[in-house]
């Protein structure tokens, strides 16, 4: 990974020093079973996942235009796909948490993915149009401050045009300027959240370095992770 490394938190003591709780063990055993026992566990788990998915879609739906049937479809699809992911990855459950907490993580991921699809069905964003006029508002610049900010914003725009790769520019403009959610952009670019985030991370770092090099921002201690 070029700039964001998945190295964090020693969980070895959690994995090795903690026995899997009885309920979690039953879930795992049930998912590894066969026949009617497995079917019963799958049905029970799906009901739990659907409950969580409904709650999560509702929690995030304040800013969405979700009608009743769409709400139900989205929650059901998220629960269905989370169940598929969980059954495929159950051997990766290491007992570092309750099984259900681990399982709910997949619901969150699937709800995010489904909402990204919903975003493009209900929103039109000009992907290549840089909405620079919005930037002062995004930065909280007051109308009477715009003149003194002008030079800085021109420098930022020049850095976006000259210092970023095409990919970094597209990601930065879409997310930072046009307000496209990262999962929606990942869907549009046939990518994934982590890859888009890395591009955004690199773009931000380059832009900050460029502005600092030209005296618009103070230099900060920087090291690649």
């Amino acid at each position: 990974m070029s700039s964001v490394d998945p190295v964090d938190g020693d969980v070895s003591d959690l994995a090795l020093g903690r026995t899997v709780d009885a309920e979690s063990r039953l879930w795992v055993q049930g998912l590894r079973a066969a026949g009617s026992e497995r079917e019963a566990v799958l049905a029970r788990l799906h009901a739990l996942l659907l409950r969580v998915a409904r709650h999560e879609v509702h929690r995030r739906s304040a800013s969405l235009q979700l009608r009743g049937p769409e709400f139900d479809d989205l929650a059901n699809q998220a629960a269905d796909d989370a169940l598929l992911a969980i059954t495929a990855k159950v051997d990766g459950f290491r007992g570092e948490s309750r099984f259900t907490t681990w399982a709910y993580k997949f619901v969150m991921f699937e709800v995010s993915t489904k909402l990204a699809r919903h975003f493009w069905r209900t929103t039109t964003v000009p992907m290549d149009q840089q909405d620079w006029d919005r930037l002062p508002d995004l930065l909280g610049v007051q109308p009477h401050e715009r003149a003194e900010w002008h030079e800085l914003l021109v420098a930022l725009r020049r850095a976006v045009d000259e210092d970023l790769t095409d990919r970094q520019r597209r990601v930065f403009v879409a997310i930072a300027l046009n307000g496209v959610p990262i999962d929606a952009l990942a869907l549009e670019l046939a990518s994934n959240r982590n890859a888009i985030y890395k591009s955004l991370f690199d773009a931000r770092r380059k832009l900050r370095a460029s502005l600092a090099a030209n005296g618009y921002l103070p230099h900060t201690a920087s090291r690649r992770p």
Partner: protein, 73 residues
């Protein structure tokens, strides 16, 4: 004028940031540490840094915290 304060949010990066995949890998543990009444940030500084910066992963974290805290069973 204070350019840094408002640009910091737009251009902020933390070298400790573990990224979205690194966050997904350990988010369930992070949440359970928090639900146990402990502060997970010292143990998972890179994950905490990521949650401060990534709106999407922060939404997942908030949802998982709510689900694990109140919807279990």
């Amino acid at each position: 004028m204070n350019h840094e304060s408002s640009l910091d949010k737009l251009l902020a990066t933390d070298p400790a940031d573990v990224g979205c995949d690194g966050t997904f890998e350990l988010l369930h543990v992070y949440v359970e540490v928090e639900l146990a009444g402990q502060d997970p940030q010292p143990r998972f500084p890179g994950l905490a840094a990521h949650l401060r910066s990534c709106k999407a992963c922060r939404a997942d974290y908030q949802g998982l915290l709510a689900a694990a805290a109140g919807l279990d069973g």
